[in-house]
């Protein structure tokens, strides 16, 4: 699973461990899946024991949790929030809608494939996924981080033109400032 372990310095390993164990989540309640976040965080499932806690602003967040379908209107906000997050940053696509549009696959104002517009690190399937599935998704992300493979933010940086092109197809009145990190 982790092949190039030798090439990584000890500092990176420590840092990746810290990143893995402390995930500040910016939960973007875009769709119906947001209702699953509270049980995930509260006493029944308690995601905090894995170091996962909510962050109030994108500046402090590590993980952008996209909970469900993204309307064309909210896509703009999500992109904006994602771009305001500090590197390294991760996206978890939550629910079927982020994968293929789910039950909204033929809606005129939702997007179907999230990773056309944003670099998703981990998808969590289900409509909607149970908290167990969410935690499993986080565990997957942690593994990727530990391995140094959660590089969605690098992909976004490198393929910015691709993403921008797709984004601009959806968002017609493009008023966002330039990309920054």
């Amino acid at each position: 699973m982790v092949n190039d372990k030798e090439s990584r310095k000890i500092v990176d390993i420590i840092q990746d461990f810290a990143r893995k164990s402390s995930l500040f989540v910016l939960a973007y309640g875009t769709g119906c899946g947001a209702i699953e976040i509270p049980p995930t965080m509260t006493s029944r499932y308690d995601a905090e024991r894995f170091g996962i806690r909510g962050a109030a602003t994108p500046r402090q967040a590590d993980v952008l949790l996209i909970t469900g379908y993204l309307a064309t209107k909210s896509l703009k906000r999500v992109i904006r929030a994602y771009e305001q997050m500090q590197n390294p940053k991760y996206i978890i696509g939550f629910g079927s809608c982020t994968i293929n549009g789910g039950m909204y696959w033929d809606s005129y104002n939702t997007i179907n494939r999230l990773d056309m517009y944003m670099p998703v690190d981990v998808y969590i399937n289900g409509c909607m996924p149970r908290p167990e599935a969410v935690i499993a998704g986080f565990a997957k992300l942690q593994k990727l981080i530990q391995a140094g493979k959660a590089d969605g933010w690098e992909r976004y940086q490198n393929n910015l033109e691709f993403y921008r092109k797709n984004q601009k197809k959806i968002i017609h009145n493009w008023v966002m400032p330039d990309y920054n990190w």
């Binding site: 500046r59 992109i79 904006r80 305001q84 590197n87 008023v175 966002m176 400032p177």
Partner: protein, 609 residues
């Protein structure tokens, strides 16, 4: 050269400046500059000599006491800086000659006050100072009618109270000499003591804007050009403090009337609290600073009123310091007004981008004002608190603490509203840093504020000398440590150096670590729920920002002294409006009055004669 000649020279120079401006603006500016440089040059090299003039059978004496020369130092420094600052600041305004003439008149008036060794000449110079400042208050001519009138009326009330005191003192002491007044004061009857001191306090209290006589101050400070307000609030109001210190300390401390000292101190404490509250809710920077000035003068009054060695020392220190930092702050406001033309929080934001130097001096002055270590304001605050605690003014100390904590609110509002926050292009267009001639005064005073923070001994020395005039002999002071009456000490050097060392250490760390990956972004790029901010959006939050606090203290804020005065004056006017119907316009009625008067006199003649 006698001192009086210098005062007359200033007055003469004022008139010359006026004439010079009639000829040519540049020539006039040269005249202004010459005075600005000559004033400190003369003052710091002269040797005092006494001089006596005899007028109308009274002998008027002139000469500096070391107490007066402390304030004279402040006046000289501040006014010469303000004059320098005025040259670029006032550049685009008209009737400059008039302005500078009155400016110099008021400087001369202040010097005259400090030079007077008798009450009559003090009063004369006091009034010269008053009307010249009045003329400057109304100089800009925008909505000054009420403000000017208010200032004049309150000054008149104060001055006339003082005049009454002078007249009575002349009767009770036999002459108007200040020292002899103090010498003979213990022999006064208790009613005379109370009356003369209350009247004098009213007189001085008006100028030092003590509640409830402060009503004129916000308007007057606001309406005059900022370069003058720096002197107005920084030095001119200190004349009230000067008088109050003389009276308070000499009379109440040395004549065993501590109750009057308590009156002053309480007036000061209440002033400090209420004025600070008012300052918090202002949306105009000039108003904010005006109320803040009133509050700060309250602290000084507290220091003088308590009357222990440390408290008087603190009062004087704060007086000097308030002159300095408030001078800078008014100059900052002037700089902003000069560059943006606005003074309302609604119309300004994010100036740090365009005016970093101004921001820096404002920051220094604000820290000094807030009384926080490591700058000089803390020294004054420390001495004030310690003097209050060691002299068992434990309720008053709460008032002062409440006031100075509340002061943080408007300090933040000032810095944040003007310099920080959203950088709106519409506000910042065509704005640039102020000219060098405006930077120099602000910069130099700010430097002194920083220096006094660690080495307050630099101004402790003249203050200690001044204290000897007030009757506190042999005040001990050290260069950078403070001691209270219980022997507890505060060492400034380790504290400030420690603070700076830690600060610098972490500054290096935080700057170096991830240096390349640290990026500066504009203030439009903020986290606000993902909504991109367009350029035309104004998200600056600086108007009415202390609503919650207002809701807490609204029961107090509902009552304004001003309404009280308004009611009184309206009542008087209404009364005379009714009264003037005596002059009915009918000749017969007037004849009737004559007959009635005659009849009344005849009837009452047995009782009258």
């Amino acid at each position: 050269m006698s001192n009086l000649v210098i005062i007359l020279a200033i007055f003469g120079w004022a008139i010359l400046t006026y004439l010079a401006f009639k000829i040519n603006k540049t020539l006039g500016n040269v005249f202004v500059g010459v005075l600005a440089l000559a004033l400190p040059a003369y003052f710091f090299t002269y040797t005092p000599s006494d001089y006596t003039v005899s007028v109308m059978g009274m002998s008027l004496q002139f000469g500096f006491t070391s107490f007066a020369s402390l304030f004279a130092m402040l006046v000289v420094v501040l006014s010469s800086f303000a004059l320098l600052y005025s040259i670029p600041y006032m550049n685009k305004k008209d009737r400059l000659g008039w302005f500078y003439m009155n400016f110099m008149f008021s400087v001369g008036g202040m010097m005259g006050i400090l030079m007077s060794k008798d009450l009559v000449s003090l009063f004369i110079f006091w009034e010269i100072m008053t009307w010249s400042s009045y003329l400057i208050v109304i100089y800009q001519g925008k909505k000054v009618n009420k403000v000017g009138l208010k200032y004049m009326i309150f000054s008149a009330i104060g001055a006339y109270a003082m005049l009454m005191a002078i007249v009575l003192i002349n009767k009770w002491s036999g002459n108007v000499n200040i020292e002899q007044f103090f010498a003979s004061f213990p022999n006064y009857s208790s009613a005379a003591k109370l009356l003369s001191s209350l009247l004098l306090l009213t007189g001085f209290g008006v100028k030092s804007a003590l509640m409830p006589l402060h009503v004129w101050a916000p308007g007057a400070y606001t309406k005059s050009p900022m370069s003058y307000t720096a002197v107005f609030s920084g030095a001119l109001s200190k004349m009230g403090i000067y008088g109050m210190a003389l009276v308070a300390v000499n009379l109440y401390v040395h004549s065993n009337m501590p109750i009057m000292g308590e009156v002053i101190a309480w007036a000061g404490a209440i002033t400090a609290v209420l004025a600070t509250f008012w300052a918090i809710f202002q949306n105009d920077i000039r108003k904010l600073l005006a109320y803040s000035s009133i509050g700060q003068l309250g602290y000084i009054a507290v220091g003088l009123g308590i009357g222990t060695e440390l408290s008087v020392f603190a009062g004087l220190y704060l007086a000097i310091l308030h002159g300095l930092f408030k001078g800078v702050l008014w100059m900052v406001v002037g700089a902003i007004e000069h560059r943006t033309g606005k003074t309302d929080f609604r119309d300004i934001s994010g100036l740090i981008k365009k005016m970093p130097f101004t921001f820096f001096v404002a920051l220094v002055a604000i820290i000094a004002l807030a009384g926080m270590p490591p700058l000089s304001g803390f020294v004054g605050k420390w001495m004030l608190y310690e003097s209050m605690i060691t002299s068992n003014h434990f309720i008053m100390v709460l008032f002062i603490f409440l006031s100075s904590t509340a002061a943080f609110l408007y300090c933040f509002h000032f810095l944040y509203g003007l310099f920080l926050g959203q950088q709106e292009d519409e506000f910042l267009k065509d704005v640039k840093e102020v000219p060098v001639l405006m930077m120099i005064p602000m910069g130099l005073i700010s430097l002194s504020l920083i220096a006094f923070g660690t080495f307050p001994g630099l101004i402790f020395k003249p203050i200690a000398q001044a204290m000897s005039t007030l009757g506190f002999e042999n005040v001990t002071w050290r260069m950078s440590s403070l001691t209270n009456a219980w022997g507890n000490s505060m060492f400034l050097k380790p504290a400030n150096f420690m603070f700076m060392a830690v600060f610098v250490f972490f500054l290096i760390i935080i700057t170096v670590v991830n240096h390349k990956k640290t990026k500066k972004v504009g203030t439009k790029d903020i986290a606000n729920g993902g909504e991109p901010i367009r350029d035309e959006d104004n998200l600056h939050y600086s108007v009415d920002i202390y609503r919650p606090f207002y809701r807490v203290i609204s029961p107090i804020m509902k009552y304004k002294v001003e309404t009280f005065y308004k009611r009184i004056s309206k009542g008087i006017e209404e009364f005379f409006q009714f009264f003037r119907r005596i002059y009915s316009g009918n000749g017969q009625t007037y004849a009737l009055y004559v007959v009635i008067f005659l009849t009344a006199l005849l009837i009452l003649s047995s009782t009258i004669f």
